[in-house]
């Protein structure tokens, strides 16, 4: 397509972008069209959700992590953010005959925290769990193919070293998603690490992050994938008291649809839902075992006053 300069000047940038992305967009979603809330409801029901293997967290999230939405997981080092991401990367592959999504995952690792050995452990536990559950013939058949090798081959790992690489990768992602239509989960672990270094201008960082947020949100909606972003914590001084709050500033907090904060409370690990359009704010206990992310042993739900 050749155009002269005046006709280019007459076009708005969005016409370009819609022209360029129109071919890529998946047929299920057309950006400019109005849908009624009823159609949206049906779409949401078709999408399903990803189980976390913690029944309490699943219950609090009304069935698991929503597909087509952006979820942010915040927490201090070592509290289990990456672990939950790894667990989700395996869980999304649960075969359809067991009520799973049987999909693939892209894992964007910025911290170098993707430890293959842990994935193997988690995957082994999941395979064991479902081979015990398999009763009818169909389920036994799927267990033939649902094994360690298939699980590992359905995880695509991207290692990004700084924020430029992360942004470049996100720009290329729509093409990747077109080639691999079975991808239903995008994990960015973590967004805080690349953006907390090499960026001196804070207002520029905020703008970059907001742009990234919009990009990720539109990808989640257009391609109907679940996006999980992890974030670090930082301290804020308020009334001469220090609070642990999610990093990257307050405006970044608007990026995610659901926000989960993982934290230690005494010797207990607690996951708190602090922002969600559909669930009330709750806190549940969990633990990290050698098999992965699980409920805490004592199933009492503690409601804590967090703020």
């Amino acid at each position: 397509m050749f155009l002269t300069l005046p006709s280019i000047l007459e076009k708005w940038p969005c016409q370009w972008s819609s022209g360029a992305s129109g071919r890529r967009a998946s047929p299920s979603f057309n950006a400019g069209e109005a849908v009624t809330a009823l159609e949206l409801l049906q779409r949401e029901r078709e999408c399903g959700s990803i189980t976390t293997f913690s029944s309490q967290l699943d219950h609090a999230l009304k069935g698991g992590l929503p597909v087509g939405k952006v979820t942010e997981i915040c927490g201090a080092p070592g509290v289990g953010k990456t672990h939950l991401c790894l667990q989700l990367s395996v869980d999304i592959q649960i075969p359809r005959s067991f009520g799973g999504l049987e999909a693939q995952v892209i894992f964007m690792d910025t911290e170098g925290s993707f430890v293959l050995q842990r994935v193997v452990d988690i995957a082994a536990a999941v395979v064991r769990h479902f081979s015990l559950l398999a009763v009818d013939g169909e389920q036994k058949d799927t267990m033939q193919t649902f094994n360690m090798e298939s699980i590992l081959s359905n995880i695509f790992l991207v290692r990004c070293h700084d924020y430029v690489e992360l942004q470049a990768e996100l720009l290329l992602l729509p093409d990747f998603l077109r080639d691999k239509p079975r991808v239903r989960l995008l994990v960015i672990d973590s967004v805080a690490f690349p953006f907390r270094q090499h960026l001196d201008d804070l207002s520029q960082r905020t703008r970059l992050l907001q742009g990234l947020a919009q990009q990720v949100i539109s990808m989640a909606t257009r391609h109907n994938i679940a996006v999980v972003i992890t974030n670090q914590m930082t301290t804020r001084l308020q009334d001469s008291q220090s609070h642990l709050v999610p990093a990257l500033g307050e405006i970044w907090g608007h990026a995610s649809t659901t926000r989960i904060i993982l934290q230690w409370e005494g010797s207990q690990q607690v996951a708190a839902i602090v922002k969600s359009p559909c669930c009330i704010d709750t806190a549940i206990q969990y633990q990290i075992t050698s098999e992965g992310f699980r409920d805490a042993n004592q199933p009492e739900i503690t409601l804590t006053n967090r703020r």
Binding site: P13, C14, A37, R43, Q204, E250, H254, P277, L303, N305
Partner: protein, 332 residues
């Protein structure tokens, strides 16, 4: 400056528009101020047709003085106050959202802006049986939550589905598509988008999510986009008599005080602004559905009045609508 568009007035069809654009006549201003004879020659159209178009355009785009008395009559006949469904919010807004005005909700993450938007959408579509246009820029609209709110309003499944069908959702994720969508809605698309029914509320959740990434830095494109979107919202509110509800994020000022985002230019756009915050003192046990709402700009009420707001209000279990339902039955 209004760009020339096809179908703006009778006689201005696609062919003429293209030849006008080729003759470098792009806006209404260009056409009105140009030498018509010259343009007629250039575009090889009749002078008469162009003259007629110019007269229509002048009539459409000229401001005429209106007397206060007429304005008051119009106000009485055309303004409606749309209840948000929540008594404390209604109290802050002097009984609800006014049609023809832009109302803004601002607040930090998890302060309940989207919940209020959902509540208003459900209330308008279910109780008032009016159509709602919901522009979602953050992907936060969750239809299952809307359904949940409706389920606490009525147990009739058909009614729930009807109410959901009256909510029309646009999901736009950048400022250009927001601006374009708003201008098509303004120039008549509002009626088309809703399938012919009357729209009483337009909700944009959130304006800041798409606009603030473009603000700041050395470009001022973001500023111009913001003002164009704002203008579209304001004229749409006036021309179609709809209530516009927008959400905004918050920033912290120099002394750590919370203020709505998007800067000073935007602050003139909404007629009423409400700041939502989490309440600090929360009784243990049920920590977090209470929010404090502060009125920070209003032309009717004294500013800085505070109200406590329960986000659970829209999905509370005990029903007061049994009386209301009886009244509905009596009406029908």
């Amino acid at each position: 400056m209004v760009g020339l568009q096809e179908g703006m007035c009778p006689g201005l069809d696609g062919g003429l528009l293209r030849s006008l654009l080729a003759a470098d006549v792009k806006t209404v201003e260009d056409l009105v101020s140009s030498d018509l004879e010259e343009v007629a020659q250039k575009c090889s159209v009749s002078y008469k047709a162009l003259y007629a178009i110019r007269r229509v355009l002048l009539a459409q785009h000229t401001a005429f003085p209106v007397s206060g008395a007429d304005l008051y009559d119009e106000l009485l006949s055309s303004t409606a106050i749309i209840s948000t469904g929540n008594p404390s919010l209604d109290k802050l807004l002097d009984s609800g959202l006014y049609t023809g005005e832009v109302t803004e909700l601002s607040g930090g993450p998890g302060s309940g802006k989207s919940q209020v938007c959902f509540g208003v959408a459900v209330h308008v579509s279910h109780q008032l049986k009016q159509r709602v246009i919901y522009i979602d820029t953050t992907g936060g609209l969750t239809a299952s939550r809307l359904l949940e709110m409706l389920q606490s309003e009525t147990s009739d499944r058909d009614e729930q589905m009807e109410a959901l069908q009256r909510i029309h959702v646009f999901r736009l994720f950048d400022a250009y598509s927001l601006r374009d969508r708003l201008s098509t809605l303004r120039s008549g698309g509002l009626l088309q988008a809703s399938g012919g029914g009357s729209v009483k509320a337009v909700i944009v959740d959130s304006v800041s999510a798409v606009i603030s990434p473009l603000l700041g830095g050395k470009q001022n494109e973001g500023m111009s986009l913001m003002i164009q979107a704002a203008l579209a919202l304001k004229t749409m509110a006036k021309d179609f008599g709809v209530a516009v509800l927008v959400t905004n994020h918050v920033t912290r000022g120099g002394r750590g005080e919370v203020q709505p985002g998007l800067g000073a230019s935007w602050s003139h756009i909404p007629r009423s602004r409400i700041l939502l915050e989490r309440t600090d003192r929360a009784p243990s046990g049920c920590s977090s559905t209470l929010r404090s709402a502060t009125l920070i700009k209003s032309s009717r009420q004294p500013c800085l009045i505070k109200e406590e707001l329960d986000l659970q209000w829209w999905s509370r279990s005990e029903r007061r609508s049994s009386g209301k339902r009886k009244r509905d039955e009596a009406d029908s």
